[in-house]
Symmetry: C2
Subunit: 228 residues, 2 copies
Amino acid sequence: MAETRPGDTRERILDAAERLFMAHGYEGTSMRQITSEAQVNLAAVNYHFGSKESLMQEVFRRRLDWLNEERLRVLRALKAEAEGRPLKPSQIVDGFFGTLLRMGSDERRGGMTFLRLLGRTLTEPSEFIRAFLAHEYQEVTDCYKEELFRALPDVPKAEIVWRFHFMLGATAFAIAGTDELRLVTDWQIEADDATDRLDRLLPRLMSFLLGGLRAPLPQFRDAAGDGR
Amino acid sequence: MAETRPGDTRERILDAAERLFMAHGYEGTSMRQITSEAQVNLAAVNYHFGSKESLMQEVFRRRLDWLNEERLRVLRALKAEAEGRPLKPSQIVDGFFGTLLRMGSDERRGGMTFLRLLGRTLTEPSEFIRAFLAHEYQEVTDCYKEELFRALPDVPKAEIVWRFHFMLGATAFAIAGTDELRLVTDWQIEADDATDRLDRLLPRLMSFLLGGLRAPLPQFRDAAGDGR
DNA sequence: GTCTATATCATGATAGAC
DNA sequence: GTCTATCATGATATAGAC
């Protein structure tokens, strides 16, 4: 009964690739590992996706298409409710990062596996991957940045962009690491299961991000620091 | 005159490896690329370092030994000055992350190349690398965390550890990305050279990190959230 | 659509002359 | 210490039978 249904192959490859790319990185994963894990033939990847690069892109597109739409949908809902007034920073941050983290609880959307893959890939060295991700993200991040500009009119735009970047980094690291990295030492924090940990991660991360976003502006020694 | 001086080979390999590992990652860099860039023979890596893994470790040890010592030295100086009183959070954060970022201006310590390599490697999938880095870092990060516990007695330790983790992520991303990633869109921020950008990055990052570190504690729906 | 079999090339590592 | 030559392996990708 464990026979490969026709049309099933594609999804099996994507699932296996997602997991292996997460665990060993793009360069560190071979097509042999992928097809072996997916229990399909070695040639199937090239038949269905054309190349390893295209497979990688498809692994992301399958998840990011939904994430992008969801993020835009959330933002539209918030704006409709606000009726023209600027949104609260906490709403914007939750719409962007909260939506991402909640995706980790949704196994139909890849769950923690995809979340960790995404976190790690944001600092991936391979050029084509970074370019691809930047392109996939551009539109949505621009929309959210625009809302932050409106929400924080007294903060220079350049500063907001930087802080958005820092928020992205903190989040990427948080979702990439949550297992092997010994952030927990001897007095031990928690040994919950993955989803429980995720439930507690979100409010913690949100507090941190909002604190950073609303921090006092930095003092530069020389110029204004808002982008001359 | 461009002849290879004896004893020079080792350093040339380390320099080339540092740059290439930064640009293409560990798995994405071959020994042939390294020896070609270093203009030494292919067999030289195995002669001097034994294996690619050992080379990678030596690339990091060369820089981290100094960084670890410097961070401990800075912390000792701060504690001596404080005469038993808790340090200010800003001092601790600057001692840890400021010391790191200032390393990026010091070409003798690898400069921006090493900084970016380090930022990227913190989320590197390869198991042996993460284990190696965690081991190299353990002692120093524990010392700094202890000081944060003293500086913020009202914040649960678990919360501080998480926030330290978030700070690490924001910093790693900031130093890993600073080039290709289009955080700059059309209304353009700056086109300074690398060191100038680094000078402005530090105060910006410090504000963000301190804001996040001192943010109001998160509210959990169920329990206390301090590690039950 | 899925398989077997294979082409072609790059990889990390080593042996042994100098 | 440095070189050339080479090994065994594993990589991506493809051709062609079924």
